[in-house]
Symmetry: C2
């Protein structure tokens, strides 16, 4: 730890620092990493002339007053790199400092000097620099450096002098006490958000609690959800996500299939939040009590899962806020509250908040309090409904507030909107983001989109969470592709996205009927009515899902997105890609038949260099879904996939390695 | 003019502004434009929800306190664009402001409303917004808006109300008085440097005055240079660049061909600046007097040329600074000044300045004074020698200082060094930069390098100045390629670079002998001795150079670099590219045979769409060097180039256009 001696406006500060990475909008927003990651920072550092530069990476946890320092090493072409391990969750900062190091410059030149007289004069210059270093050192180091300096002044024989001047150990010692008075420090303290592992790797299961009852006709409860935990855990999910669990408004309540008026007894939409029973901090009475909720939180934990709540900042007309805080709504000249609308469409069951209210700060505090309330009940994952219809500044503040108190909190942005808007939400603090995956079906689209997600500038802050379906999205592909389509989209989601989720049981039971032709809404959607699901049905994908999730748990390659690499296949219906994990040398290659109707075959061409495979040795492809093992040779191999039997391979690739004794073995 | 109402820390400011372009390092440095250019600014602007945004480009000359405002228009995908004309040279600033416009949002929704009651309530809302606008308006506008508001309240018939609400003229009037209290303004005021046209388009001729004498054996003078002006102007150059014209040091003076010690009577290197006769503000006595210099400046002007001086901040050992300002040099323990060296090489005739001097600010002031002195003598173009061996901060300050006083000053950075360093110099203020052109000879290299220069991020600030030779650079290509090589490199430089130059008369007289095999130094270099040139020699390229420069003057396409576009040719020795000027519809296509030894032929494939050519009409290719005219058809056309006759075509491309009367004519 040290305070860099920064002097501004001193024309003698000759080092220049540019293009620090990672950098999100020049340091306006935080890059994201996971606790335990090595954070690799690079910068262009250079100076005028031919002097030698020294560069340090400075880093600290936000709020610390002094910097930790790590040397940076040159990569060539004036690029420097250093790294630090972000050990724990929270906010960090980093920047770069650099200076012209006269001692290192001197040593570099000294090594190239040839003439005796030249060496002698140079040695005197060096002695002065070493004496300065000695002044900055203490104890034994100071004594040794002083000794070195006086030797440099005393020795006169050229060979001996050169050896003395180039002494490696003494040079390393002197370099430890540099003159940093004229160091330049990048003025931007780049922020970094460090999350827990689940931010990078999570498997979500969405479930309507009111449909979780095991008895037909009875309203499902949180206790019913608790009973379902073992089965969901067995499928391999680690996040159980519940749509809003608050009291549902009675005024202007919607009926089944989004009918404008509910019939008596109809339950309404859980997103029409608030009634006489309470609002965003209350539980819908038919779901159970707060004690039931606490039991569910605790029970989920014992199954290695955690609960995610849906936070939807909008109100039913009978939400208590409407009377208690009329300023939080926009009033129309006819004395009514402005309901949600997209003319000519009207959503009279939903009042949006008026964020341009005079009392905007009161509103902000109250909404942040909703997160704080549920965090106090043990919830750490929030799926936020339509964040793009509330001000960006609000989210940046609210997420920052909660994460200061609960740095392990995770926020998933449910914004299916324009790219800039989705990216802004990710930059300002959302931990994960929904994607356009549901509408990317062709090989070209999938390659382009996932290359952008994993290689584009968003890779520093936009963590995709990939869903084949949601209660709002029943895609055409699922409607018409039958069982193979569900399997294809499941495997794509689970292997392309380290974070993925399904809306069940609709998904595993292949629910595919739209409300109307051309609509992406489900017929008899759970959004407006209670459904009874036959979880034991023969056609359930539960067992396959369990195998897919097990492959994800067993293979670190599938637990992050950075390494994604697509490979050519000479058939546009076949998609092939790999993910790898360097630390464990784990490598997974997936081949998917995107055509749910026909058998497709083709030659896959792996990039063996990129995968680190010796082209002269066979390698094993172990299908983690079927258990089959194949021996492949070279880059090009043949694949045939029958959608009726198995529309995809998820291969663990095991390399053969030539050892010193010339034995081969699979890693 | 208006001051935007910026309120910070108001959570109701909902507009977001990102990715303003042009932007050099996030606004740390200025983008560059030419006086009269339209400066096109874009930004990502968006807000939460579905409200309508309004965006303005704010711009001003540096130092003005209020902004000029120009509306920005949406391009789709949340990108907005606006522009302003930077009429005069100097520094400008620009930024972007945006706000959620409730009146525009209301109008957008009102147009989509269908029901009578809905329209009536909405009209009341609108009336309130229009009344607010009326409060912000004055005079007649206020009266009209008030009238509109009361009509909106009074009319009740749906059709009439809708027509009233959508009145285009009244809407335009109301939109002129927006509520900008909650506008967001990008906090970065992006700087812009606006230069005069010569910064973008210039033709340089470098000449050693001491070799300009018309009588053998006599030291050339500034008067001799004056006598040469008509011939140089006839060749079409507009910048006459002189190596340093200051007194040359006598101590450790170099001899011919860089001999360590000069023989008596040898003139030394003009870059070893300073002697008893004076330093950087003095003239070498043998060149003439300050009156001669002023005559030369004035005479150049009458020939449409201007003088560029070489500013080399280094000293001969007998420069007056050494005794007058010992602190500006680094002293060695043996009591001598540290000369320039790159161990084991030593340059005892050159003392570098010690920029880490205690008196660094005194040094900075003095050096800035050198520019100011010569600017006072009418010089506005400075070619700066090795700027990368002096601190970046010094240049940023010194160039800024001089340009504040002389905004028409042009600085050319002579830095042949690593890319980051060259870019930093361009960013911090150098107007033009030398390039790697001299060492880019193959088709692949030329395409890659000039694509990077004209399309890469440097295009906003790095203006290439392209030289086939300099006194320090006699390339292998010129050494071995004979006359065709000189023609090829001339035409490449003059058509790839809107700014280019040659070092003459060595260039036009095909001087190609290196000092040693493998060296890029000239034998009997003018750097160390006076040369006598036979300007009337038969083999002189002067006449061809004149034709090339005339083509540059006549064709605006060749006067800027942004439009450069390369085209495929099925022969790697043939390079084809176009430049265009939109305003004048001027189009120049150059085809060069890069092989100076053999006839080469091939099929050129123009991108007719990009060039705006109707594929169904023939077009004329007028060779500006030979005068020949060819009629070409379609994208693919055959070209054959004999290096002994003409190694290149520089074609003015004249489109045929189908007119209404069905006549064709060439533009």
């Amino acid at each position: 730890m040290a305070k860099p001696g920064i002097q501004l406006n001193d024309g003698r500060m000759r080092a220049v620092i540019e293009r620090v990475t990672p950098s999100v909008d020049g340091g306006r927003f935080a890059a994201k990493r996971i606790a335990g990651d090595e954070v690799v920072v690079e910068a262009d550092c250079f100076t005028d002339g031919h002097d030698t530069l020294a560069c340090l990476l400075l880093w600290r946890r936000e709020g610390e007053t002094s910097w930790n320092e790590t040397p940076m090493a040159p990569l060539g072409n004036d690029r420097w790199r250093g790294g630090f391990v972000a050990a724990t969750v929270g906010r960090y900062q980093y920047t770069v400092t650099a200076w012209v190091d006269h001692f290192l410059s001197w040593r570099h030149d000294f090594a190239r000097r040839l003439e005796a007289e030249d060496l002698r004069v140079a040695a005197l210059v060096g002695a002065g620099l070493v004496e300065d270093a000695a002044q900055r050192a203490k104890g034994a180091a100071r004594t040794r450096l002083k000794g070195w300096a006086s030797d440099l002044r005393a020795v006169s024989e050229a060979q001996a002098l050169k050896a003395l001047g180039l002494d490696e150990e003494l040079a390393a010692l002197a370099a430890r006490y540099p003159d940093r008075r004229l160091a330049s420090t990048c003025p931007v303290e780049h922020p970094l958000t460090v999350d827990r592992e689940r931010a990078r790797f999570s498997s979500w299961y969405e479930l309507f609690p009111r449909s979780a009852s095991s008895e037909p006709g009875r309203h499902g409860t949180l206790r019913d959800c608790e009973a379902r935990l073992p089965a969901i855990a067995k499928m391999g999910f680690d996040v159980l996500y519940l749509p809003p669990i608050h009291p549902i408004g009675r005024v202007n309540r919607k009926g089944a299939n989004n009918a404008v008026a509910a019939q008596p007894g109809e339950p309404g939409s859980p997103w029409a939040i608030g009634s006489a029973e309470g609002g965003h901090k209350a539980l819908h009475p038919e779901l159970g009590t707060i004690e039931d909720f606490r039991r569910l939180v605790a029970a989920a934990r014992t199954h290695g899962m955690e609960l995610a709540l849906d936070i939807a900042f909008q109100c039913a007309p009978d939400h208590p806020y409407v009377t208690e805080h009329p300023k939080w709504f926009r009033w129309r000249p006819d004395g009514t509250v402005q309901y949600a609308e997209n003319p000519p469409k009207k959503y009279q069951d939903i009042f949006p908040f008026e964020f341009e209210s005079e009392d905007w700060s009161g509103l902000w505090q109250e909404l942040a309090g909703v997160f704080r309330f549920w965090a106090g009940e043990g919830v750490r994952i929030f799926r936020v409904d339509n964040p793009h219809t509330k001000p960006f500044a609000f989210w940046e503040w609210a997420i920052g507030e909660l994460k200061r108190e609960y740095p392990d909190a995770i926020f998933l942005a449910e914004a299916f909107t324009r790219p800039r808007v989705m990216h802004r939400l990710a930059k300002l603090g959302f931990t994960q983001s929904y994607t356009y995956f549901a509408w990317r079906n062709s090989k070209h689209e999938l390659i382009e989109y996932f290359t952008e997600l994993t290689q584009g500038p968003g890779r520093e802050y936009f963590r995709p969470n990939v869903w084949p379906n949601t209660p709002d999205i029943l895609t055409e592909y699922l409607q018409f592709g039958g069982r193979p389509a569900f399997i294809v989209r499941l495997i794509l989601a689970a292997t392309l996205g380290a974070n993925y989720g399904i809306y069940g049981p609709a998904f595993e039971l292949l629910e595919a009927e739209p409300r109307d032709p051309g609509s992406e809404e489900y017929r008899d959607s759970e959004k407006y009515q209670i459904r009874q699901w036959d979880l034991q049905a023969q056609h359930s994908l539960a067992e396959l899902i369990a195998r897919v999730n097990l492959a994800r748990r067993d293979n670190p390659a599938l637990q992050s997105d950075d390494s994604l690499l697509f490979f050519p296949v000479d058939n546009d219906s076949l998609l092939c890609y790999a993910k790898s994990d360097i630390a464990t040398e784990n490598l997974v290659v997936t081949v998917v038949n995107l055509d749910p109707h026909h058998v497709q075959s083709g030659w896959v061409e792996l990039d063996l260099d990129a995968l680190g495979i010796d082209a002269h040795l066979p390698y094993q492809m172990h299908d983690l879904l079927s258990g089959a093992r194949f021996l492949w040779n070279g880059a090009r191999n043949f694949v045939q996939l029958d959608p009726q039997r198995a529309p995809a391979h998820v291969f663990a690739l095991r390399r053969k390695v030539r050892t010193e004794r010339n034995f081969d073995y699979f890693l």
